[in-house]
């Protein structure tokens, strides 16, 4: 027996319990896993486990009652004023139908913006955020008797916990019986809005048989097209079991009937749009529920489409049938607001608050009307009431700020706006509205906030960039920096080098004295005298080439039989200011320079007259040239060697190699940095969104 218990509870996914509701919820949850069409064997096992668990729980509860314990199968009754309303001997039971929404993202359709695919699963939910839907179920003697009379007889457990193979299910046996039961549940309003009742119907043994299921589905759907006023959760339960939405959509593609489209449209809205509540109609007594629901639904839809005349007609018809439905009152109030009938709207919202004082709508709508009518003191009181009852309602705090502002209560207004700004997400609509108001009445706060935000943004951007930049990037930046410095220095030195190679124009003796021996000079000489000397490169007896300064005539006479050597340089004497300067030329000078004493401009380099043979030779030539009674001519201690300035810069190979490498490295670093910054910008835009 213990083993069977474990199997049952494991199948249901709960701990052993005598709580029938918990068992039913667990069964409903497991139905998602073991769907009759998808896993028939699993569904059968689940069904058996459910039946057994129910049986065990009922037996235990009966035993406890017999022992005089006060334990109950039901949750403590909800203590609210509605229990006192009905004169019936009724007991209100509060049940939680907790839903866990799973969403699939579907494209928004402009034409059918309320239609989206949302699958709802029935799961116990421990989360705080979800609002449970409350289904009020009346359990009265009448209902209990009804339940007993229509209860399904589950296969009985024997003493040893095994199934009694001979036990039979005495519940619904045919499709007709199923349909009749469905009608009975629908016609009995409390059962109609109870998911348990429908669940028990769906668990009928007749639905086990897959052959029957198709017929049941078809007939049941036809039935519900005429009896369509069910709460949304019931529709969802049925759709999950029968998959009608899919079938109806497929069938609708082939049909063109207006009625088919209209029901499909209605059906989809029941599944996917927020619906109106049914439970308050339990207090309505003996009314034509379907008529009321029809009018209310028509008014609801008309109001959504802003067809006010139609909305008015439908809503007021519903009101005549039952005046204490909170959803109806809210819709009528909204209608009156749209029609600017504010007094009537307030009266309706007053009534709404009387009917359901625990909901915010009545208070909020009243407050909004007061504010719109510029009754700021009354509006403030209303909003204070909302804020006290519903502390999480931020609209109330924001509007309290606005009311305070209108009433001239500046400090209070500031307090409310700051509270809104600190309680809400940055740049949320509420925060922006609070900021907007604060800008007028408390600009210092806004200024301070701006400074804080600016610093935060700055820090965020710096951090973000630092996080995005890699060490390689920083190293590359440094390399580029130094290479650029080096190359700039190199490039800057080239003009100087070029400049250095331009001949220096000598205009004075002092300049001549200061001129560098390596620097090319340009000088204009006058009174040029041909010394008839030349510089030769001659090979001596040992085979060594020597530099010889000799008279050109002597050389001619000496070597005319053996082949004249060509002068390497011709030697002349010129005058520059009062200085006589020896200069060497590559070619012999024109006769015009010598004979006509034309000035001669030459370019060359300045050098020391170190060669003693040259000095002796020059001295002897000068003695011959000068008359005996004249003082021998002195000459400048340096001579000028003719030479053209270099056309090209002499480039050191190592410098070339270094510069080449530097350029290659620089180019690679720049390419890397370009790609890197592109990557950083892409990452930056991803992190910031489109900002």
């Amino acid at each position: 027996m213990a083993g069977l218990y474990i199997t049952i509870w494991q199948r249901l996914g709960i701990e052993p319990t005598s709580d029938i509701k918990q068992i039913k919820r667990a069964y409903a949850k497991q139905l998602q896993v073991y769907h009759p069409e998808e896993d028939a064997a699993g569904y059968q096992a689940l069904r058996e486990a459910y039946d057994h668990a129910l049986k065990i729980a009922k037996q235990q509860n009966d035993r406890i009652k017999q022992e005089g314990a006060a334990s109950s199968n039901y949750n403590d009754p909800l203590q609210d004023e509605q229990e006192q309303r009905s004169g019936q001997d009724t007991e209100y039971v509060r049940q939680h139908d907790e839903q866990d929404n799973e969403q699939s993202a579907e494209q928004y359709d402009d034409e059918h913006h309320l239609e989206h695919q949302t699958e709802l699963h029935n799961e116990p939910n421990g989360g705080e955020e979800q609002q449970p839907q409350f289904v009020y179920k009346i359990i009265s003697d009448e209902v209990d008797q009804t339940a007993d009379s229509t209860s399904i007889m589950y296969p009985r457990l024997t003493r040893d916990g095994t199934l009694d193979a001979e036990a039979t299910d005495e519940g619904i046996q045919t499709v007709d019986e199923f349909i009749e039961q469905a009608i009975a549940i629908y016609e009995h309003f409390p059962s109609r809005i109870s998911s348990d009742a429908w669940l028990e119907l769906l668990n009928s043994s007749i639905t086990w048989n897959m052959n029957n299921k198709e017929e049941i589905s078809g007939r049941f759907l036809d039935l519900l097209q005429e009896r369509k006023y069910l709460p949304g959760p019931i529709w969802k339960l049925l759709d999950h079991f029968f998959k009608w939405e899919h079938e109806l959509t497929e069938a609708n593609d082939g049909e063109s009937g207006k009625e088919a489209n209209s029901f499909l449209d209605y059906y989809k809205k029941q599944l996917h749009s927020p619906g109106l509540r049914y439970e308050f109609l339990l207090q309505a007594g003996d009314i034509d529920y379907d008529m009321f629901l029809k009018y209310r639904y028509e008014g609801y839809q008309a109001l959504m489409e802003n067809r006010l005349e139609k909305a008015s007609a439908a809503l007021h018809k519903a009101l005549k049938l039952f005046a204490d439905d909170p959803d109806l009152l809210r819709l009528i109030g909204e209608y009156n607001v749209r029609m600017c009938r504010f007094d009537e709207a307030i009266a309706v919202f007053d009534q709404l608050i009387d009917v359901i004082p625990g909901e915010a709508d009545g208070y909020l709508n009243r407050a909004r009307i007061r504010y719109a009518q510029r009754e700021f003191a009354l509006a403030a009181e209303e909003y204070k009431s909302v804020a006290a009852r519903f502390p999480s309602n931020i609209e109330a705090v924001l509007m309290l700020g606005k009311c305070s502002l209108e009433l001239g209560q500046r400090e209070e207004a500031i307090g409310y706006f700051i509270e809104v700004h600190t309680r809400t997400e940055p740049a949320s609509p509420e925060a922006i509205q609070a900021l907007n108001s604060l800008a007028d009445i408390h600009p210092d706060y806004v200024q301070k906030l701006y400074e804080q935000q600016r610093q935060a943004v700055k820090r965020h951007n710096t951090t973000k960039w630092l996080q995005l930049i890699r060490p390689k990037t920083i190293i590359s930046l440094w390399i580029v920096f130094f290479l650029v410095l080096i190359l700039v220095g190199f490039v800057n030195s080239i003009p100087k080098g070029i400049e250095a190679r331009k001949p220096l124009v000598i205009t004075s003796v002092e300049q001549l004295a200061r001129a560098d021996h390596d620097h090319s000079i340009s000088i204009t000489l006058t009174d040029v005298t041909d010394l008839d000397l030349a510089q030769y490169e001659l090979e001596n007896e040992s085979g060594i080439v020597e530099t010889v300064y000799d008279s050109r005539y002597n050389v001619y006479m000496k070597f005319r039989k053996f082949g004249l050597p060509l002068p390497k340089r011709y030697i002349y004497l010129g005058k520059f200011h009062d200085q006589h300067i020896i200069f060497f030329t590559r070619e012999s000078l024109d006769k015009a320079v010598i004979e006509e004493q034309q000035p001669f401009t030459m370019t060359g380099t300045l050098d020391e007259l170190r060669s003693t043979s040259l000095r002796r030779t020059v001295a002897s030539v000068l003695r011959e040239l000068m008359p005996n009674d004249e003082v021998p001519v002195g000459y400048y201690p340096k001579y000028i060697n003719e030479g053209k300035p270099p056309k090209t810069i002499t480039i050191n190979i190592s410098i070339v190699v270094f510069v080449g490498l530097a350029v290659i490295i620089l180019t690679r670093c720049l390419l890397f940095l370009y790609k890197e910054f592109g990557r950083i910008r892409r990452l930056d835009s991803i992190h910031s969104g489109k900002e």
Binding site: E425, Q433, N436, V446, G689, K690, E691
Partner: protein, 216 residues
């Protein structure tokens, strides 16, 4: 005369100033310009193309739509739907919508703003967008300057009748921005708050330079 022209230009500039917060024009390049008049042609062309504008005809159609229908129609439709729901029903319904979907964005924005806007809703957004597109159209020679000035004045006067001041107008513009902004994650929103704060505190902010009820 020059003073009147300056006042008008400043007024129209103020009407679109709030657009340059965050990325409401949905174009980072335009936002970085800060002023449509200084935007390079390629950027303006690309921006107009995203609004479905390629020539003077499409510009004319879009401007007409903004003037007579606009995004305010859709805003109002959503508002009519949400206002029929109870407070809790609205919260639950919006929470059930797919995350980061346009639908959720629209409904969430309307839910936050609908009780704080007047009957004109987000018409201010349509008007501001009209001015911005018209100005861009002039730069691209899709529209004459004369037409731009004429309709800009009409739009400004309509806005002056419908809204009570810059606060009121800006809030409606911002509501439109939230309604139409693509759904995104927090860092983007954070920056928007900073930029709006900056607009409010800047002494030389364009909104502080011209009175809402200035005669145009």
């Amino acid at each position: 005369m020059l003073g009147v022209n300056w006042r008008k230009r400043t007024y129209y500039q103020a009407m679109t100033a709030v657009f340059f917060i965050g990325n409401p024009l949905d174009d980072q390049a335009v936002r970085h310009c800060g002023d449509l008049r200084s935007c390079p042609r390629p950027i303006l062309q690309s921006w107009l193309f995203r609004w479905g504008i390629e020539d003077s005809l499409t510009l004319h159609d879009r401007l007409n739509w903004l003037l007579y229908k606009g995004h305010r129609m859709k805003f109002n439709e959503v508002k009519q739907t949400l206002s029929t729901m109870s407070y809790e029903m609205r919260e639950q319904y919006i929470a059930s919508l797919p995350e980061l979907s346009i639908l959720k964005n629209n409904y969430s924005a309307v839910n936050k703003f609908m009780n704080h806007l007047g009957p004109e809703g987000i018409a201010a957004y349509d008007y501001a967008l009209y001015l911005a597109l018209s100005q861009a159209g002039v730069s691209l020679k899709y529209r004459t300057r004369r037409d731009d000035r004429y309709y800009a004045r009409e739009i400004a006067e309509i806005a002056q009748r419908k809204y009570t001041g810059w606060d009121d107008y800006n809030m409606a513009c911002i509501a439109g921005m939230y309604f139409l902004a693509p759904p995104t994650e927090e860092p983007y929103l954070h920056n928007r708050s900073y930029l709006y704060t900056r607009l409010l505190v800047q002494k030389n902010s364009v909104m502080n330079r011209v009175n809402w009820n200035a005669k145009l």
